[in-house]
């Protein structure tokens, strides 16, 4: 197991080099220029050129790429053009809101998705099954921004129960943080729960058709125990994979949710950085997201072995 994990960790390096190179080239080759945006609509071309020179943006692209590699090797992701701070600092500032949103939404998604899938499978073809899968279908179909805006209108504007938008650190004021996080977590979690519910249902249906389930039933084990203990654990591996992928996606930034609910996380950061062509920030966020993807997949693979003892990596 340890050797396997070591090999996987080593394989991260070439992935990172490829990701960094592709992102660097993509963001530099698309049209648009950070200096034109920063200097405002009335800036003249010669002013723009002078500032481009002062930022080193006039140098050949291969030279800029080599400098970028050099900085990354030293642990320096560069300095944001707009935010006047190192990219690492900007990323650390955005990490907490994104992690809190990710974990809250994931919790909501699991709490809704897994039981829905299990119940739908256990009562296959019933009204429960159809109702829950209709809910899952809605979760996939309803656009996140539409759901978020309607939640704001209903729960903040009309009922006044919760704040419309904003963010408070859980370390500063946990209660206020919870109030701010309810609407984004539920709207994002509901969207994400749909996939988890459908995968849970499929896996449970497959498990429920296995011989050991029939044997357990023949031995007179109660149906809820058959479903909850015998079938559920065996159906869990693909569900964990989906949960892992969902978490990786959310860490990369739940862009729409963060923008609508004004949460200063990584998703909002990368969108504004792309719009402004803040190259160092875009590169930094993509690097972190890629690393998160790889690491979460690694953790998920490790968890498989604990959930299903038949899985061995030696």
């Amino acid at each position: 197991m340890a050797a396997y994990l070591g090999r996987r960790l080593l394989a991260v390096l070439p992935v990172m080099v490829v990701v960094l190179t592709v992102v660097f080239l993509l963001i530099h080759l698309i049209p648009g220029d950070p200096v034109s945006v920063m200097l405002g609509p009335d800036a003249t071309p010669d002013q723009i050129e002078a500032t481009r020179r002062s930022l080193g943006l006039d140098r050949p692209l291969p030279e800029q790429l080599l400098q970028f590699y050099g900085r990354v090797l030293r642990g320096d992701l560069g300095r944001s053009y707009f935010l006047d701070r190192p990219v690492t600092v900007a990323l650390l500032e955005r990490a907490e809101p994104t992690l809190v949103l990710t974990l809250s939404a994931l919790l909501v998604a699991i709490v809704i998705g897994v039981p829905s899938g299990v119940v739908a499978a256990a009562r296959r073809g019933s009204l429960w099954d159809r109702g829950l899968m209709l809910g899952a279908l809605l979760g996939v179909c309803i656009p996140g921004f539409w759901l978020s805006l309607n939640f704001i209108y209903l729960f903040a504007v009309r009922l006044g129960w919760l704040p419309a938008a904003g963010y408070t650190s859980v370390f500063a004021d946990p209660l206020a943080a919870l109030r701010y996080m309810v609407l984004p977590a539920v709207s994002l979690g509901f969207n994400q729960s749909a996939l988890i519910a459908r995968i849970s249902r499929s896996c449970m249906l497959e498990a429920l058709q296995q011989d050991y389930v029939r044997t357990a039933q023949a031995k007179g084990v109660a149906w809820p125990v058959v479903v909850g203990v015998h079938a559920f654990r065996n159906a869990l591996v693909p569900v964990i994979a989906v949960i892992g992928v969902t978490m990786a996606i959310l860490i990369g930034g739940a862009v729409v949710t963060e923008i609508v609910f004004n949460i200063p996380g990584l998703g909002r950061l990368i969108v504004s950085a792309i719009m402004r062509r803040d190259y160092p920030v875009v590169q930094g966020v993509v690097l972190v997201t890629a690393a998160a993807y790889v690491l979460i997949n690694l953790v998920v693979d490790a968890v498989y072995a604990f959930v299903d003892p038949r899985i061995r990596y030696d």
């Binding site: 945006v37 071309p45 500032t51 504007v157 938008a165 609508v260 004004n262 504004s272």
Partner: protein, 535 residues
Amino acid sequence: MWAEILLTLAREVEMVRRISVRAAVAAALAVAVMAGAAAAAETPKRGGILRVGNLGEPPALDAHWTTASITETLTNHIYEGLYSLDRDNRPIPMLAESHSVSRDGLTYTFKLRQGIKFHNGKEMTSEDVVASLARWGKQSVYGRTLFDKVADLRARDTYTVELKLKEKVAIVLVSLAVPNNFAAIYPKEIAEKFPPQTKITEYVGTGPYRLAEWKPDQYIRMVRFDDYKPRNEPPNGYGGGKTAYLDEIRWIPVPDVATRVAQVETGELEFADDLNLDAYDRLKRNPGARPIIGKPYYWLVAVLNKKDGLMQDQKLRQAWQAAIDIEPIMRNVAGGKAEFYRMDSSLAFAEVPAWHTSLPGLPWNAHDRDKARRLLREAGYKGEPVRFMTTQEYKWMYDFALLTKQQLEDVGFVIDLQVMDWSTLVQRRNNPKAYDAFTTGMGNFFDPTHHVYLTCVWPGFTCDEDILKLQDELARELDPKKRFALWVRQTRQFYEKVPVIRYGDLFGLRAVLNTVKGFNEKTERVRFYNVWLER
């Protein structure tokens, strides 16, 4: 019996009279009490946090460095210049006490106000002013224009600054007064520490609020500067006496416009700027908040590339001008609401009365399709695609570009509408080979010489000798009446040569809670000095 009746009547009349008198007295008292209450309600109060929802982050808090409007709004609370603009957008002193001009018109001597403190506690002196203006003159759009004509700038004594010109120009005071990309006075140490092309990251000014904290994408906190020394005059436009009643202004970037509206409705924001016009009716119905129509906002403009490509041909530019029917375009862009647009051909907004023109007979909004077709024929136009760049990031730009395309194609133009993000557009427009026209908006210009689209350096590249000659004369002429006559000539010339296509004026939408008092609705960009909160 008649006597009894008369007596009864007399008593009733007397009673009615007494009741009337009492009612009148009571009414008068009530009015007096209400007036007193109203007066009490309008008495400014210190304290409170004003939360302002705006579109996004500023690229810098360096007023010299960028023309971005969000930087203008924010920095005008932290810094001040020697001059500011009054309610008619004319220059009035701010950090300057007074000025004098030598007989030959070449030397301006500025007396500075004494006892003005920077936020770091240091007193402002002429050395700070000289260092700041020198930096501004190298980087700012307005500063560079002025400093092309400056021979020397020096401190004569602690509170006196002397500016010597190479030649007489009319734009000294107005250039020092414009609020955008403005001549903010920084401490000498900061002005000299940061070269003009490097934005400052130490924010020390003399303004009524000082920067307390900047957390990008979360908030910018400005707190009252207790040692601020206001001018003695009453508030006047952007200038006059400024009082910081609020403990704090918290600028919160809220990128989603629907969320900004919702946060005003829930009371999470006291003020929201840059709203979509469709929120107007909803805000009007809200008992706790009200909409504000921001005038002026932009006049819509299609900038034509005169350096390269099809639009070098004046007849094609005139054909575009003749073809368009501006009223339906403006009505559509304004969401069908007449409150949000104004049909005006003047190159200066009506809010700048000194330069606003009302000239009959201009070929503006002629909507003469036959003339447009004739001009196309005369130009030898054979259906070559006109590359017209726009963006969906600003909905009004996309809307008016789309409507323009339809109208132009009705008369025979072939329009290649190229939709891109704003960042790409502002880069491409600097390359004359890349386009024929692009959309943008023109904000307020406070002097004819500041109209960027009448220069050879700004995208679109108006290098027409006659236009530039008149701009040059406008810069040199000192007599206001003669300057206005020149401006009228320039306006007529503009509609003949058509360097850009002037559409109508579009207005903006803001929302404010009713607890916010003292807000000046007449300025183009928001200012929160002299504003207080009624709790």
